[in-house]
């Protein structure tokens, strides 16, 4: 058992920051789920909306990646 309390705080913070990824997971699941339910109702219009779905996924996912970045910064840069 060694190390200082600042490092402990950084590691706990890194772990807590990872909970943000759960939010991104909910968001991405929401986007794809809604896309699927819409696509099953109107399959002929589904093909044209795949690009839009990926843009939505990307925006939603970016915030999860931000939390991952915060965790990495706490682990390696602070």
């Amino acid at each position: 058992m060694e190390g200082d309390i600042v490092q402990m705080g950084a590691y706990i913070g890194a772990g807590l920051a990872c909970t943000g990824m759960g939010g991104a997971a909910v968001g991405v699941g929401h986007v794809v789920g809604n896309y699927l339910s819409g696509a099953l109702r109107n399959p002929s219009a589904a093909g044209g909306q795949i690009a839009t779905m990926f843009i939505g996924i990307a925006f939603s996912e970016a915030l999860g990646i931000f939390s991952f970045l915060v965790a990495l910064l706490l682990m390696f840069a602070v």
Binding site: A51, I57, F66, F76
Partner: protein
Amino acid sequence: MRPTRAGTKGQRMATEAQGGESGGLVFHPMDQFIVRPLFGDGGVGLFTLTNVTLWMAIAVAAIFALLVLGTSKRAIVPGRTQSIAELAYDFIRKMVEDVAGKDALPYFPYIMTLFMFIVFANFLGLLPMAYTTTSHIAVTAVLAMLVFLTVTILGFVKHGAGFLSLFWISAAPLPLRPILALIEVISYFVRPVSHSIRLAGNMMAGHAVIKVFAAFAPMIAISVGVGILVTPLSILAITAIYALEVLVSFIQAYVFTILTCVYLRDALHPHH
């Protein structure tokens, strides 16, 4: 974020893990992202040849081989290499046309270059012992800043001050417009940040996950009791995650290019 500093810490943690009790990780999963000079053990300067530059050069050489050498025969019935090159060309051309509009086609070569570089860097990074150049924010930030500057300059050149109407949403009610303008300006300037971090973060996280599961695979050599259970599971998990990473590598290149197309559309048609 300085990769060298993370690297030294990673190395320290790796040696600690090696010296520690058996059953821990043999290497640190972040070790693969250390920037090392190709020749000698000196520091990494501005013009040092490193493993990053080597793998970027390999990516460019591979793109050249696919697009230039692969299509040099110009066969009417294309072979396998020419088919892949034509497939990639058609895919990006259709994306630019659909998302950014017909008048964005003069900028198609730039977007094609971006897509090919990112997708090749991502795929080459999946090879064992390879280096994922796109996992570094330094690399992706340059790509994203170039997109951001190109799009901003293009918007002002094409529309002059009219480009600012991108932030002034005329469809919204008048009292809301200043608030929306503030939000739009913030989201406009966050674009290069999220654009670069999305790619770098995805690549870094994915490749680190592969390494974490790869570290569990030699468990059978360390501890016979638990290892018999862990090793086959770990090999199955690596296979599955590797397949997922191939998909993610492609999707991230696709997302980067499609967002470039979206930004380009905003520059060409700023009026909502």
